[in-house]
Amino acid sequence: MKLFLSLVFAVLAFCNTSVAQTAADLVKNVKAKMDRVNDYVATGKMKTDVVFIKAPVANIKSYFKKPNRFKIKRDGGISLLPKGGISVNVSSLLLTGDYTAIDAGQTNLNGVVVKIIKLLPLSENSDVVLTTMYIDEKNLLIRKASTTTKENGTYDMEMQFGKYAEWGLPDKVVFSFNTKDYKLPKGITLEYDDGTKKPELPKNKKGRVEISYSSYIINKGVSDDLLK
């Protein structure tokens, strides 16, 4: 989720320091559309699909406030959210604005024609190697963003839009990422073996987190306490 926003802000920042004119125009327009959202509270359900995490669907609330404050909270429970947010990858781009944007043509994504824009960080220290955005030019919506990092593989984010499309806010976000192996020594856990077959854990298995938003409350103000 954070990654999504990070990407969005990366895009916004990108508008001001555009290198490739066509890409810059497009991103500027996307930014303008999204800039109308000062804050929001979104209600949704989160589904985690990671091979070693067994979690029920979680009822969540997302809080957002300009410029880049974002928080997910859930009702009486714990969730593991994939990292790869602001600090790890795109935030560096956002903060330094030190990147090159390349128009990489267009493609068809789930029946929608999208423009591919690649962002290349200029700094050699950046963990992010490449960010690719698939932007729906007609509706000014980011349909998909894909970030490749040196350490943590590739993060993908796909968005589906519905009634909040006019604000550039998705109804559904699907976040895909690489997971490391997970293992704890049995002596620590004192396992109960109920005969259930243990899943074979494939190396570099992709994990997915899916958030479906049912409603947004937009520009009605969000208390700072909720963003702590």
Partner: protein, 291 residues
């Protein structure tokens, strides 16, 4: 029978030794709570060492439910010692004191005498467990608050919703009761052969420790026979902290992943109770009392 049981309970709770267990449980539980209060984050880091690089945790994983889980996991290894302290003393202790011969000259059948003694040690185990529940669950809930529970297993992490946990603890404590009574019956069984209580206490603990180690060792030979050890079934309470999955692989709150397996474990433990106690009564009925 009831009045005999009352007499046995009276004796159990008149002895200072009985309260050692309650103090020990209080001490262990408090230690764990203090340790988690002070240093819980580090423990969490260890559990999540493979996860925290890729994931952010939202919610408060270090809550009362998690603390109770740690306490139960730790205590259910140690509490058998405390249960054995009383149950293994039931007959051997009387033999050692020289009161056994007096009891047997009373107009009570040996079967009834032994049953009342076994029930007294079972009730003691239950009261000890309630004590653990009060300190381990309720005090932890008060001190650490409640939230969801992360049940970290060796190959997966199960995340339970906050409102889907308390009933699981009730079931888990019910299961733990059966497990502890199994220990009580084992101690009780050893108790009939000895004339001082140390032997049966050590024997009971040795069985539990050796079996637990064998169960924990990841050696294929032991893994294939571990279901034969009753100690593998004693941790069946953890089965209540797993959920069924739907077709999409999403956990369904309010379900138990493998209830039949948990019930089977409970059944196996109950069978052990009947076996140990039955054998104790069978042998003791024919035994010459020379103490």
């Amino acid at each position: 029978m009831w009045s005999l049981l009352k007499i046995e309970l009276f004796k159990v709770f008149k002895r200072p030794r009985t309260y050692i267990a309650f103090i020990a449980v209080w001490a262990i539980v408090t230690l764990i709570q203090v340790a988690i209060y002070v240093d819980g984050a580090k423990y969490m880091d260890f559990v999540l060492k493979d996860v925290k690089d890729n994931f952010d945790v939202i919610g408060n994983p270090l809550n009362g439910y998690f603390v109770c889980f740690i306490i139960l996991q730790t205590l259910l290894i140690h509490v058998p010692l405390l249960v054995a302290l009383v149950s293994a003393d039931m007959i051997a202790g009387e033999a050692n004191m020289g009161t056994l011969r007096l009891l047997i000259t009373k107009p009570i059948s040996r079967t009834k005498l032994l049953l009342s003694k076994f029930l007294a040690s079972a009730i003691y185990a239950l009261i000890l467990l309630i004590w653990i529940a009060i300190l381990g669950l309720f005090v932890s809930m008060l001190v650490f608050g409640t939230d969801g529970l992360m049940n970290a297993k060796s190959y997966e992490i199960i995340i339970l919703n906050g409102n889907d946990i308390f009933w699981r603890y009730i079931c888990a404590f019910g299961f733990a009761a059966i497990a502890l009574i199994t220990v009580a019956s084992l101690g009780f069984f050893f108790s009939i052969f000895a004339e001082n209580s140390l032997g049966p206490i050590v024997a009971t603990m040795s069985v539990i420790i050796v079996f637990t180690i064998l169960t924990t060792l990841d050696i294929p030979l032991f893994q294939s026979v571990k279901h034969l050890f009753f100690t593998s079934h004693m941790i069946g309470w953890k089965g209540f902290f797993e959920m069924k999955l739907d077709a999409d692989g999403v956990s369904i709150p309010g379900t138990i992943r493998n209830l039949p397996a948990v019930l089977k474990s409970a059944g196996i433990l109950t069978l052990h109770i009947v076996l140990f106690t039955g054998a104790a009564i069978f042998i003791f009925k024919r035994k010459d009392v020379l103490s």
